[in-house]
Structures are given as structure tokens and as C-alpha cells.
Amino acid sequence: MRLLTHNLLSSHVRGVGPRGFPLRLQATEVRINPVEFNPDFIVRMIPKVEWAALLEAADTLHLIQVPKEPIQGYEHNEEFLRKMHHVLLEVEVLEGTLQCPESGRLFPISRGIPNMLLSDEETET
């Protein structure tokens, strides 16, 4: 699970709604996977990222310092773009957990795959 993916995931436990985001990340195994740098792609991604969630996740994984918000004129700042490329696409959480911030429910991540299946009682109808 890459951090860009984590940025999209939200808890669906019943009654939680938007307070189910972001999921608290805890990783026991992380791998760095080199990915070809595509600056245009990163430029387009930046506005779609929920920045606070990304900061929190990057911090938990003790990654390189992520700026508090996108730098002014980031579209042309290669250093910034490369940093974001690394954080969003090259860090893979292989083992760990995701926790619903509202209900505390834990979802396991195993072999890079989060299992977000809820039991019938927990599902929102």
C-alpha cells in the first residue's frame, strides 16, 4: 500500500462518516520501490492529496520531512516534486495496520494488501 493509496482510504464503520478519515497508519514492514519519476503526473496529483493526512502518515513512517503544504510554484520545483514522488509512490507499507480514528477498529495490512472488510454489524446501511 503506497501513501497515495492510504490518502484515499477512509473507514466505513457504521455511523463514522467523514470522521473515518484519515486512517491511522502503523507499519511493521516497509519497502522502498523505485518508480520512474514523471513530473507531470506528480503536478496533477498534488491538488488531489489531503495534505494533513499525508503529513501524518509520512511522519509515522519517519520519512523525509514533508513540507507543511505545497510550496508556492511547486509546478516547477523539481526538488519538491521529486520529494513528493518519493513519498507518494515509492514507499510501500507491506505489513501493519490501519485504524479508524473514530471507532478504533483495526484493519490489517498484509503483503501490501489492506483488508477493509467489515462484519455485517459494523457496516453502514
Binding site: H12, D40, E50, R111, P114, T123
Partner: protein, 664 residues
């Protein structure tokens, strides 16, 4: 082109014919096997029509090839109508190419074969990876002496008169005799109330006591079936009925060795050599979940180096050869089970599947249970096989994905094996599916995927530029749940975002054209399947005789007009049973169960009406998947119940109803 001839030299008629055949072999290899031949000389050659799959053995082909030079390696993949030879030098390879093209040899059945050679870049095959025996399987070699083997074989009286209740039946393919209890082939079960007089033969009793004491078997059997297989005989792949017999099933092989195939529902096949005088012990998973069978043929593909030792037949194509079968007699000992089966493999268990047959759901709770039993559990079991039949992306879906702007965030809800996750590298695609096993396959392909329910997708609202839902919503058992699934898709979209939805159509013939599902008769459930090895003579790669046209069997197909009059029958009688569909025919009900057969079984395209309970007619396992097939306009109407969307496109594509919608 033949290197001997100048470009201005006129080719004779036979030379032209040879060239044509050679080119045909080239095309067939590429099209069906993915093997690319090259026009320049290399050390390696593909020998079309010279393969184990068309009855040419190693010791026939090798001397022929060695006449042209030093052979580095001869690779003979099992069941293929070609081999690959690598010579020590290019010159020797060229000599083979020049002299052996069009050469006539004789195969193991005495038939004339013509070889066609083409150069290839490399002579290697992907290793299938280490195989292990199915869990619970053991082969104990030399468990009896040759003297005992002789004695046992002579003790079988095949010509006893038929009033004797130790039934001698002559089945189409082999001779059988039963002791202890009679086995009924129509029901694949024993009559537990009617024990046969005499029990098991005395010689067997002492042998079984010995095996018990020595720990080879754990339980004392009370039923014996003696099978005699002549070369060419076999037994279709099956699981011994769970409720009929206890866990341990043992089989003693006499007279000749044989290769028995074990298949797992996910498609994995393990061929196991059973030597003479060996005892096969099947317990646990190998007894309850894997099918076992013997292909009806006169030769088995075996490992040249291992001879007649037991074990898995490797996929090492450098070591394979053919072994002629002899008459094999098996003594299969089983213990009759007096209580219902309670194993851990419910999907293939007749006791556990005998619960109320699937019926049209009356409530959300029943719908959930139906989906659990007839969608989720089945996909988990068949994931790998299912994945192997889902490899060609559909063009319109590819078109949709490729038209999305670079940098779009796209979710594939119900992504299956991840078929669409890598189509457009300019997108950031994440996939999710209910099946852990299918998501594992996505992961193997390095895609971003997770496990979840399509009615509760854990993605934040309004975050996706696009979503796709391909062949998913038709698995939901009520109209409310289907709409709820659509609602989830729309929730994920940002304003202006698009969703593409595909569902199976009730109408499998549209505008007088039959869908691929109806047309594809030879290969079932998908595109290329390996040529079944149930036929005893494999097809040649390049035929000498004119091709006899393939015949499509006639199917009754209802056209779209049938439905326009009555409208789609969406009324379902309360508590009505869900009908079981016959594959490759048109649908007669909107809610139904569609069979999925274990890979490689014959008869899956034929009209086998399985009566809902396992093992009644077809001894090989069938999984049923629940579907609600959609009528024309039904998907559109369902989408239109959602307030915040507009439908951009609505069309029919190869047996599916499709909608592209946009969130406003």
C-alpha cells in the same frame, strides 16, 4: 526461405508446398503458442509435429536429429505437438533445417508424421515452479512383493456369473468388481443398508492387517473396488463422494504403472506416477478437495531419468518421454461412512451442500447469505482458475480508460484479477475486490489493491476522477442492493467524474448477432484453453489433410424480440428456487445460478443438468455462482433513480448492458 535456392530459381511444386506448410507452422506457433520463429539461422529449432502431444517419443526423434549434428538439448513439453532442439553449432542446426524439413517419420502408433522445422532465438521454457504433492497424499513404493502381486492378480475371477453379488460390471471404459458394499455409479455412492455377503476377500484382510500394524494406513477399510484398466482406459476426474466414505482412501496398483492426475479447483494440476506394487494413500485435502483421474490414453508422459519411481512428473521438458501403458489393476480400499460428512471443504461436500437449495431472496439478510454462498465463497475457491480465463481486456473499456486525462485517480470496484489496473499508465488506479485470493493476484502484478465490500467502499467521498465496475453489480441479489452499489460508485466520484458500468445482459443475442458467450463453443469460460488431454490422439500442429470445418452445435437462442413483447420477467414467485443455467445457452430467467466446472473437465459444454446436489450425475465438482442478468433498459433505469447523475452513454457490448454516467 530455403537457403540453398537463389531468388531467381523457380521452386518446384513440392518445394512450394513444403514452403507453404513451413510458413503455416510458423504462424500457428505464434498464434497459439506465442512462439516467435526467426528467418535467420540460429542454434535452436522448433520441430513442428514432433512432440509428445502428437505421439512422438524422445527415443524416436532424437536419433533423427542427431544425424545432423551434436544435440545440446532436446526439449519436449508435455502435451504439445512440437519440440525444441538446440544444436552445438549454428552449422549443425542449419544442416538439420535443410535436410529435415518435410521429413517423414513414424510415430508411436505407427502413423506417418511429417516434420517442419523453423529457427527460434532461444530454446527455453518457463519453469512452472516447484510442485509438491497435494496435501495428505502419499505413495508407498514396493508395499507388496512381486509374488504377492502375482497372487492378487490371479485371485481376481473376472468371469464369475452375474448372480454372484460381488458384482462384475463392465463399464464403458474398464472392468470393475466390488466387495463389502456395492458402489452405484449413477449416484456415486454406496447402498449402506445392503452389505454384500462375504465381506472382503481373505487375502486382502491379512494384507490390510499388516498395513495397519506397520502404520501405512490408520483405519480398517470395509469396502473394496477392483478396477482393471487396459491401455486406453481411464477414469474421469472426480472426488470420491464425501458422505460415502471416511477420510482415508487407499489404492494398490498392480500389473502396470500409471500416471494419475490430481487437480485443485484453482486449476493447478499435479501428475503423479504410481508404480507397480505401490500404495496410494489419499487423505485430507487430497481426498476431499482435489479431484483425481486417469486420462484415457495409451501412453503417459514420464520422466526419462526417473524411470518407474513414484512422484510428481516434473515440468522439466528436457527429461520427458513417453511410457507405453500396460494392463493395470487397482485394489481401492475404503471405509464406508455411516454419518453425514462434516469436513472443512463444504463447497465440494455433498452432505453440507444438501441444505435448502438456493432460492430467490426475500430479505436483505437472505440476499447477503445467498451472495456469501454463491458468489464470495466460490470466487475464493476458484480465484486462480478464474483469473486465467480473464486475461483479455475488452476494447470499449480500454477506450474509456485511455480517454481519461493523465493523472486521473481511478477506482476499479470489483477489480477481480486486476485486468484493467495496468491499462493506462498515466492514471493512478486502485482496485478492490471482495475476494482476498483475487486481490492477491493483483498484488502479484504490482497493482494497488485492497479487500472490501462494494456496498461499503472505504474510499473518501468525492476523491475519484473516475470509477469502473465491470461485471460486478449483477452479483447482488436484490434490486435495492444493486442500486446501493451504484450509489457507492457515485459517492466516490468528484463532481464531473465519470463511471463505467458493465453487467451481464439477459439478451445474449442482439441485432441478430450472437454474443461471444454463445458463439464460443469449443473453449468454455474464456479464450484460449489448453487442448484437453482427454483425447488420446493430439492434433498435429500442421495437418496434411484438408481441414474439416468446425461445427457449432445448434443452440436455441431467443432474440431480443422475445423480450420486447412480454417485457423482462422481473417478477419472481416467492420462495421459488433459483434455476441452474446451462452454459453457452441463452438465459431463461433473470435470477439464476451459473455453473463453473473444475478446469480441464470434459462435458462442461454439454447439456449436463446437474440437479442442484453435487455428485448426482456429474462426478466432477461444479460450483454455482449467483447472477441477476439485466434486461434492456434496466441498468439505465437503476442509474436514473440516483439524483445527482446524468447518463452520457448507454449501449450493448458482447452480451453486456453498459452505462457511462457522470456526477453532476
Amino acid at each position: 526461405m530455403d537457403s540453398k535456392h537463389q531468388s531467381n530459381y523457380k521452386l518446384s511444386k513440392t518445394e512450394k508446398k513444403l514452403l507453404r506448410k513451413q510458413i503455416k507452422a510458423r504462424h500457428t506457433l505464434l498464434r497459439h503458442e506465442g512462439i516467435e520463429t526467426v528467418s535467420y539461422a540460429t542454434q535452436s529449432l522448433i520441430v513442428a509435429n514432433g512432440g509428445l502431444g502428437n505421439q512422438v517419443s524422445r527415443n524416436q526423434l532424437l536419433p533423427v536429429l542427431e544425424k545432423c549434428g551434436l544435440v545440446d538439448a532436446l526439449l519436449m513439453p508435455p502435451n504439445k505437438p512440437y519440440s525444441c532442439v538446440r544444436y552445438n553449432t549454428v552449422e549443425e542446426s542449419k544442416k538439420a533445417y535443410d535436410t529435415l524439413n518435410g521429413k517423414e517419420i513414424v510415430d508411436d502408433l505407427g502413423q506417418k508424421i511429417i516434420l517442419y522445422l523453423n529457427f527460434v532465438e532461444k530454446a527455453q521454457w518457463k519453469e512452472l515452479g516447484l510442485q509438491t504433492l497435494p496435501p495428505g497424499l502419499k505413495v508407498i513404493e514396493e508395499i507388496i512383493s512381486p509374488e504377492d502381486e502375482k497372487m492378487l492378480l490371479e485371485s481376481v475371477n473376472w468371469t464369475e456369473d452375474t448372480d454372484n453379488q460381488n458384482f462384475q460390471k463392465s463399464l464403458k471404459h474398464r472392468r470393475v468388481k466390488h466387495f463389502g458394499y456395492e458402489f452405484h455409479y449413477e449416484s456415486n455412492n454406496v447402498d449402506k443398508d445392503k452389505a454384500l455377503p462375504g465381506g472382503l476377500p481373505d487375502i486382502c484382510e491379512s494384507m490390510l492387517e499388516k498395513w495397519l500394524k506397520e502404520g501405512f494406513i490408520k483405519h480398517k477399510p470395509d469396502q473394496l473396488t477392483i478396477n482393471q484398466y487396459e491401455p486406453g482406459h481411464g477414469i474421469p476426474a472426480h472426488i470420491d463422494t464425501h458422505s460415502a466414505f471416511e477420510d482415508e482412501i487407499v489404492s494398490l496398483s498392480l500389473g502396470s504403472e500409471i500416471v494419475m492426475d490430481f487437480k485443485h479447483p484453482d486449476g493447478m494440476t499435479v501428475p503423479v506416477m504410481l508404480p507397480r506394487r505401490s500404495l496410494l494413500v489419499m487423505a485430507g485435502e487430497s481426498r476431499y478437495l482435489w479431484t483425481h483421474g486417469i486420462t484415457p490414453r495409451k501412453f503417459d508422459t514420464v520422466q526419462a531419468s526417473k524411470g518407474h519411481k513414484s512422484g510428481i512428473i516434473t515440468s522439466d521438458v528436457e527429461d520427458l518421454t513417453l511410457n507405453k501403458r500396460g494392463i493395470r489393476t487397482s485394489f481401492t480400499f475404503r471405509k464406508v461412512k455411516q454419518t453425514p460428512c462434516n469436513c472443512s471443504y463444504p463447497l465440494v461436500c455433498d452432505s453440507q451442500m444438501k441444505e435448502a437449495p438456493a432460492s430467490f431472496p426475500e430479505s436483505d439478510k437472505e440476499a447477503l447469505q445467498l451472495e456469501q454462498d454463491y458468489v464470495h465463497r466460490v470466487y475464493e475457491e476458484i480465484a486462480r482458475h478464474f483469473s486465467s480465463t480473464r486475461h483479455t481486456p475488452w476494447p470499449h473499456i480500454v477506450e474509456f480508460l485511455k480517454a481519461l486525462p493523465s493523472g486521473s485517480l481511478v477506482a476499479d470496484i470489483g477489480c477481480g484479477n486486476g485486468k484493467y489496473l495496468g491499462i493506462n499508465k498515466e492514471l493512478y488506479m486502485i482496485g478492490c475486490d471482495h475476494s482476498q485470493n483475487l486481490v492477491d493476484i493483483c498484488r502479484e502484478r504490482q497493482y494497488q489493491a485492497f479487500v472490501c465490500d462494494a456496498l461499503a467502499v472505504p474510499i473518501r467521498s468525492g476523491s475519484c476522477d473516475a470509477c469502473i465496475s465491470i461485471a460486478v453489480i449483477h452479483h447482488f441479489a436484490t434490486a435495492e442492493r444493486r442500486v446501493a452499489a451504484l450509489q457507492e460508485l457515485v459517492r466516490l466520484l468528484r463532481p464531473g467524474g465519470k463511471a463505467l458500468i458493465y453487467v451481464w445482459a439477459m439478451e445474449q443475442e442482439y441485432n441478430k448477432k450472437k454474443s461471444k458467450y454463445l458463439r464460443e463453443n469449443r473453449t468454455s469460460q474464456g479464450m484460449k484453453e489448453e487442448i484437453s488431454n482427454d483425447t488420446s490422439v493430439q492434433e498435429l500442429l500442421v495437418k496434411e489433410l484438408p481441414n474439416v470445418g468446425r461445427q457449432d452445435s445448434a443452440h436455441s437462442v431467443s432474440s431480443i424480440n422475445d423480450f420486447q413483447d412480454g417485457g423482462c420477467n422481473s417478477r419472481n414467485v416467492a420462495n421459488s428456487k433459483l434455476p441452474i443455467h446451462t452454459n453457452r445457452t441463452s438465459f431463461h430467467s433473470q435470477d439464476l445460478l451459473v455453473p463453473w466446472h473444475f478446469k480441464g473437465n470434459p462435458g462442461k459444454d454439454k447439456r449436463v443438468e446437474s440437479l442442484g446436489s453435487l455428485g448426482s450425475h456429474d462426478p466432477s465438482p461444479v460450483f454455482h455462482r449467483y447472477y441477476h442478468v439485466f434486461c434492456e433498459g434496466e441498468l439505465e433505469a437503476a442509474c436514473q433513480t440516483l439524483s445527482n447523475i446524468s447518463i452520457l452513454q448507454s449501449y450493448y457490448d458482447q452480451g453486456n448492458w453498459c452505462v457511462i454516467l457522470q456526477k453532476v
